[in-house]
């Protein structure tokens, strides 16, 4: 067979495949941006100008880039948390809630415990991660023991998480009974020793970025090289086959579920210890939910999470500066993001076929007599 396997066309074909893949991303993004552009012009603004402001705000200069990296950090961590679950066939949509728990507990350790030097920071990070893991335990056990659908459970627990943290902070930490807006419901500031070192002081980008990148590489390595990673991958793709091969599907799935929660908790801890330095109720503005979109964009590839996370940082940071400089709300950019994912994940084949059918309908003689064969029976 080897002699007839054709060398050149093969590489050409692979290159083709890579190009079509890239083209899909570009087309999806352009489609999303076009619709975003229409929304912007409704506002009476010039879309080209708005997008230019966005890019400059995200990449124009040291401060802008640092701020982009700051936003890329939670994006990478939340994307990774989601991916770990997805790869194992566990649809953990509770990263947002796990992130809240992680953030809250990290803040708690950050201000109430005294530890020397780096130990404090590491303890706070670890406590946050564990809190996320612990919070994923409930849906994980329900799923493993009783086969209760994890999607609904995790989604619901998100609300529980941010309402619960808000309540605890307000009642037990601030002991306030009056009405306050959520962002004023805060814990005390964490100690200096618990804070993550900044990359370019005074900007907010911090070593959390390295934690995220390193973890992404680690997870990639885990799926590529370890026995558990191998088994989890199969579990995610075909649990029946994994069970047949002797893999304990439920136990491994649960492991992935908790690992996913762990990283979600870590994402929250990094936000608090690196940026906010105190826990504020409802601080996250969908950082955890974005993880789902990011995982989808990266096609669940842990290494892919890194560039997608950076891209997310660009959009988020750029959107803020667009909002400052123009009258366009950053919600428009959230719409663009969602549309991007939507267009990308809609099967490109379906669209191609639709286009073809239209072309065919416009009168090529390919299907002469078609109606009669079909119609004769119906």
């Amino acid at each position: 067979m080897g002699d007839r396997s054709v060398g050149n066309p093969r590489t050409a074909k692979m290159r083709n495949a890579v190009l079509t893949e890239a083209a899909k991303y570009v087309v999806a993004l352009l489609l999303g941006m076009t619709i975003g552009g229409v929304l912007i012009s409704f506002k009476g603004e010039d879309p080209v100008f708005a997008y230019k402001v966005l890019l400059e705000g995200a990449l124009g200069g040291r401060a802008a880039i640092a701020q982009t990296l700051r936003w890329a950090t939670p994006a990478i961590l939340a994307g990774l948390a989601t991916t770990i679950g997805f790869r194992a066939g566990v649809f953990n949509l509770g990263v947002e809630g796990q992130l809240y728990m992680g953030a809250f507990v990290a803040a708690l350790v950050g201000y109430s415990v005294a530890l020397p030097g780096r130990a404090h920071m590491i303890a706070a990070l670890g406590a946050g991660a564990l809190a996320g893991a612990a919070y994923s335990l409930l849906p994980a056990v329900l799923w493993m023991r009783y086969g209760i659908n994890e999607v609904v459970n995790t989604l619901m627990l998100n609300y529980v998480a941010y309402l619960l943290t808000e309540y605890v902070v307000r009642v037990f930490i601030m002991s306030s009974s009056g009405s306050v807006v959520p962002l004023q419901i805060v814990t005390p500031e964490i100690a200096e020793s618990a804070r993550l070192p900044l990359l370019f002081p005074p900007y907010q980008a911090n070593v959390g970025l390295f934690i995220g990148v390193l973890l992404a590489i680690l997870v990639y390595f885990f799926f590529q090289r370890t026995v558990w990673g191998y088994e989890l991958d199969i579990v995610g793709r075909n649990p029946a086959f994994a069970a047949y091969g002797g893999v304990s599907v439920r136990r491994l799935g649960m492991l992935a579920f908790i690992a996913s929660g762990l990283v979600g908790g870590l994402a929250g801890a990094v936000e608090i210890l690196g940026v906010h330095h105190k826990f504020a109720a409802q601080f996250s503005i969908n950082l955890g939910f974005d993880g789902v979109l990011i995982a989808l964009l990266a096609k669940n590839d842990p290494l892919g999470i890194i560039p997608v996370g950076l891209f997310w940082g660009i959009l988020r940071n750029g959107a803020y500066s667009m909002e400052r400089m123009t009258s366009v709300s950053r919600i428009v950019i959230q719409v663009v993001q969602a549309l991007f994912v939507l267009f990308l994940t809609v099967d490109a084949g379906v669209i191609r076929q639709m286009l073809r059918r239209r072309r065919a309908l416009r009168g090529k003689p390919v299907q002469k007599g078609a109606t009669t064969t079909h119609g004769s029976l119906v």
């Binding site: 396997s5 370890t226 991958d233 029946a240 069970a243 047949y244 076929q353 064969t373």
Partner: protein, 509 residues
């Protein structure tokens, strides 16, 4: 409505593989045209092209002399070409009726009109004597019925040319008879049938003309009346194929598998295996014969550990594994070639090497401290590919790109790789070409010769008779007879399987 199909110079490449290489074929209207050839010869690919699923890299298709180009199966359907695939493509949780009309819904004022469809289908089923239960969900139907649904679906959508890709590999011999009758009915009404099979006896029985493919090319085309199994086999494989086996002599080592008074219930709580007891000894091949749906598959699943038993016990090499996990049973030396290769036996989206590793990933040979030793794994996988003649572009392609028979070979290769002590094989040669069938059967016998035990469950009575020392017959969840292959006939087994004979030597305890 008669259609003549001409394929001219059809060529199709996949990365690393030339699947079809300038194939020419003329399929005359109103005939049964068989396509035979080794695994990976390009039969399914060619038919996928004809039915619009793939587009050829080169060459053309003519229908009644007019050149056509199909971008998708729908367009092929509009020209009256429909295909029933090797792996079915039904939506498992929809009803038969909805599956049939899916995408071709008759409508009345914009609403789907099921009653119209029902009427049309009733006529159609009467005309071709192909009854299907329209309101049952597909997943509750036996495979043979699902296949019939596929056929009715194609006819409903207007197929004049019906492509059947290895239809009999999922059927019992009796069910195959029914299918052949249906094929004759179709042809007598002017339809054309293209029929792919590895069972040459069948091919000679139903076909008018036969095309033989090898390595992507047509190497011979002849009328069935001029062919014999031997000449066909020679054309396909390029040598004579020997199909005489001697089951291992009087066995009798230690018991390897002991099943005692085992009862298994299905999902609905019905007892599908009732108080079954038997023992397989080292050096023995024990065959289990039975009409599909008489508890064999649940019996096997329980022994393997994929469904729980209700009562009774299972011992492997004297160890009680009644409650043990699949993993522990595998560690005790159990291997399993499952009936359902597409869903249970492989992970189609995962790389071939990952499929070949399954079940062995914890072996010290393949991993240390939880890390896979990828170089060892790769050597192992490429060794299996070579030894079992698995045709693939590389170890890294998704297993689903392998041809049906090559996928089956990969499963067999994996399960036989590291000296099984107990091999449980369901239809081990299903979909495998005759050359490879010979090889796989010898491998199965070698397990027994090497001191292992084999439990062989097969729809194919000839296979059971050729390989077993001893045959148990199952009927309605019970063992209704035990026979020695030398002292029985297919007819007698057939009667036992139908539950129409008195109890045999086995007391059925």
């Amino acid at each position: 409505m008669q259609k003549e199909i001409r394929l001219e110079n059809i060529t199709k490449r996949f990365p690393g593989v030339l699947a079809d290489d300038h194939v020419n074929m003329i399929i005359s209207a109103g005939t049964v045209h068989a396509v035979v050839g080794e695994n990976g010869a390009g039969k399914s690919t060619l038919m996928n092209i004809l039915s619009g699923l793939y587009q050829p890299d080169d060459g053309r298709i003519l229908v009644d002399g007019e050149q056509v180009r199909f971008e998708n199966p729908r367009q092929a359907m509009r020209r009256g070409i429909g295909m029933v695939h090797q792996e079915f493509m039904l939506v498992r949780n929809l009803t038969v009726l909805d599956n049939i009309i899916l995408g071709f819904e008759p409508s009345r004022a914009g609403m789907i009109s099921r009653s119209v469809a029902r009427r049309v289908l009733k006529d159609l089923m009467n005309a071709y004597k192909l009854d299907v239960p329209l309101d049952e969900t597909v997943e509750r139907l036996p495979v043979s019925m699902q296949q019939r649904v596929e056929i009715v679906k194609a006819l409903y959508r207007g197929a004049d040319v019906l492509i059947l890709d290895e239809p009999t590999s999922v059927l019992t011999p009796q069910e195959s008879r029914v299918l052949f009758a249906a094929i004759r009915e179709l042809v007598s009404r002017g339809k054309t049938v293209i029929f792919i099979s590895h069972k040459l006896g069948e091919v000679l029985e139903v076909a008018d003309r036969i095309s033989v493919m090898r390595d992507g090319r047509v190497v011979g085309e002849l009328p069935a009346s001029d062919a014999t199994e031997r000449t066909l086999a020679r054309l396909m494989v390029g040598r004579d194929v020997l199909m005489n086996f001697t089951p291992p002599g009087k066995p009798q080592g230690d018991p390897v598998l002991e099943v005692k008074e085992m009862t298994v219930k299905d999902a609905r709580g019905l007892e599908v295996v009732k108080q079954v007891s038997f023992t397989v000894h080292a050096g023995e091949v024990l065959g289990i014969a039975g009409v599909a749906g008489n508890g064999q598959s649940e019996l096997v699943k329980a022994i393997v550990g994929l469904v729980p038993t209700c009562s009774g016990s299972i011992h492997i090499s004297r160890r009680d594994v009644t409650k043990a996990s699949v993993k522990h049973r595998r560690q005790a030396g159990m291997r399993y070639i499952p009936q359902d290769r597409a869903w249970v036996g492989t992970c189609r989206q995962s790389a071939l090497w990952k499929n070949l590793l399954m079940g062995y990933e914890h072996y010290r040979k393949f991993s240390r401290f939880g890390l896979l030793r990828l170089d060892v794994v790769r050597r192992f996988a490429s060794d299996l590919v070579a030894r079992f003649g698995i045709k693939t572009a590389s170890l890294y392609v998704p297993a689903g790109t392998l041809s049906g028979g090559n996928l089956q070979k990969a499963i067999v290769a994996r399960e036989l790789a590291l000296g099984p002590r107990l091999l449980i094989a369901e239809d081990p040669t299903r979909g495998i070409d005759i050359g490879a069938t010979e090889f796989v059967r010898r491998q199965v016998l070698q397990v027994a010769e090497g001191g292992g035990a084999v439990l062989l469950v097969s729809q194919d009575l000839q296979e059971v008779m050729a390989l077993s020392n001893r045959i148990l017959v199952m009927h309605k969840g019970q063992i209704v007879g035990e026979r020695m292959p030398a002292e029985t006939t297919e007819e007698e087994l057939g009667l036992l399987m139908a539950g129409r004979a008195t109890r045999g030597t086995h007391d059925g305890r």
